[in-house]
Point group: C2
Chain length 328, copies 2
Amino acid sequence: MRSAELIELWRGGQRESLHCGDAVVCDSKGVVEAWGRSGRIVFPRSSCKMIQALPLIESGAADAAGLTDRQLALACASHSGARMHVEAVGDWLHVLGLGEADLRCGCHMPQDRDENRRLTCSDEAPCQLHNNCSGKHAGFLTLNRHLGGGPDYVDPDHPVQQAVKAAFEEVTAEVSPGYGIDGCSAPNWSCSLAGLGRAMAAFADPRDDLRGRAMRRLVDAMRTHPEMVAGEGRACTVLMRAMDGRAAAKTGAEAVFVAILPEQGLGVALKVADGGTRAVEAAITALLVHLGVLAENHPAVGRLLTDPLRNCRGLVTGEMRTAPGFPA
Amino acid sequence: MRSAELIELWRGGQRESLHCGDAVVCDSKGVVEAWGRSGRIVFPRSSCKMIQALPLIESGAADAAGLTDRQLALACASHSGARMHVEAVGDWLHVLGLGEADLRCGCHMPQDRDENRRLTCSDEAPCQLHNNCSGKHAGFLTLNRHLGGGPDYVDPDHPVQQAVKAAFEEVTAEVSPGYGIDGCSAPNWSCSLAGLGRAMAAFADPRDDLRGRAMRRLVDAMRTHPEMVAGEGRACTVLMRAMDGRAAAKTGAEAVFVAILPEQGLGVALKVADGGTRAVEAAITALLVHLGVLAENHPAVGRLLTDPLRNCRGLVTGEMRTAPGFPA
């Protein structure tokens, strides 16, 4: 079994490039639809931030710290490092009596255009608050305060990461084959694509228990604050707005995307083999249309999948297409 | 026959991502080594700029305009839009009695960090001189003056493009299945990967005739002025410097790379199916080491292929590897 052909790029009537990958749609019982290898092992990367945030709520740490839904959305975010995000994480740490130096996520230039420009033109270096994962790390620090762990909360043996690992293995219903170190220095546990899809289905159709209530709260936070989960112009934000809260969607590095569809009780997990962002954004768009939560004539669908590709003079140069058999 | 597995990305001891593609090594008689589908059709994109520059020399236009090797390197370039490149193209057009407005390549922000920063922070828009293809277009305008064609020199039926098409079909020894419109608005003719490799072998082992002398002149121009072909830090420049002039190398959009090895009389053509830049740069690096023109312990090899991958805190997160069977 090989990966499936998912997204094609055409130019001059010829197929120029091709992205392969694997995708599953799951309900609470398991895989209901699949393309490629549902059993392939993936690092979910940032697509599992809502799983990594479960111990924050289930432990009581979120309520003890009085976290708002906006902050919970940020805990699940790969944000753009806009002023809005930077200030929200800074305020959060301040209330905890902590600061930027307590973060362990490292610094990178923000994706947000205005903030990137401000830093570039003032010769100011980005700080850890700009890191796209700083909201997740603020969540880790909130949990860590509750658990009384040491400062190196990204150590895989630290109580925070052990709590994350336990939640991850429970919701994927798998023993993880292992972890890799993520861009933000936290461990990222691997699982099968089907396991990730099952976890998303659990978020879509949560039980009425402690975990289920935590899941529902995180999904509602993401759907209510799509601008905190990514940022202006970014696929997660654009797609959640386009679906008007009918589903939550979250990307991860190396071309992972997940979606949570509460109305249908379905979870989606998708990985483009080559890590190509344009392809995973196009593929999740196609899947969300296929599953009936995104209108195929919505401008977001045009932008991420169906609009003609144009060069810098505005001439049409080609188009993206879903490959035959994907998604239907 | 499918594309071959070329480049893998590993994290935490597990393969996270995979790039497939196709590659050929040719001599003057044809394909001598291949991975994947040597017959696949490709748009060479900017990797065939040295082919597109043949009519410029063969027509006598280059000599009539007194073009230097530095300008010929720029005609084969996808440059970074650094001041050096912008000024060189501006001067070239000025000597022709033409200006930026005569170009038809369009405007995009330059890749060169300093120039990009200058434009960003002064709110200055990029001009057509910044376009990575502006040197090729200056070559088209030089040829056009010689041929006496009209101003719309990117029209596929224009004498300039018809001359390019004829040269392209002659050196690939194929009838092109057709053209696509490139990012710079010029037509880009497609061919088989083997045809592109054969063309590069012809550049590597040129005959002693008008075409052969034009080929030799272009290859020498590229090898002598690697900084004009791309720019500081860019793969073509870095690789040509690392090989100390033993080979010319040129990339094209959507992950095409070619190389010309005069010492061995070999041509290389490579296309990563998904269009991934990191993969095609790693793969051409592996091929150049494999063919004995690039020392495997050179820092350029580390940077483009073998160095561990690190996150923004400097922690090792994984590595790139050539897939089993590629290149040996």
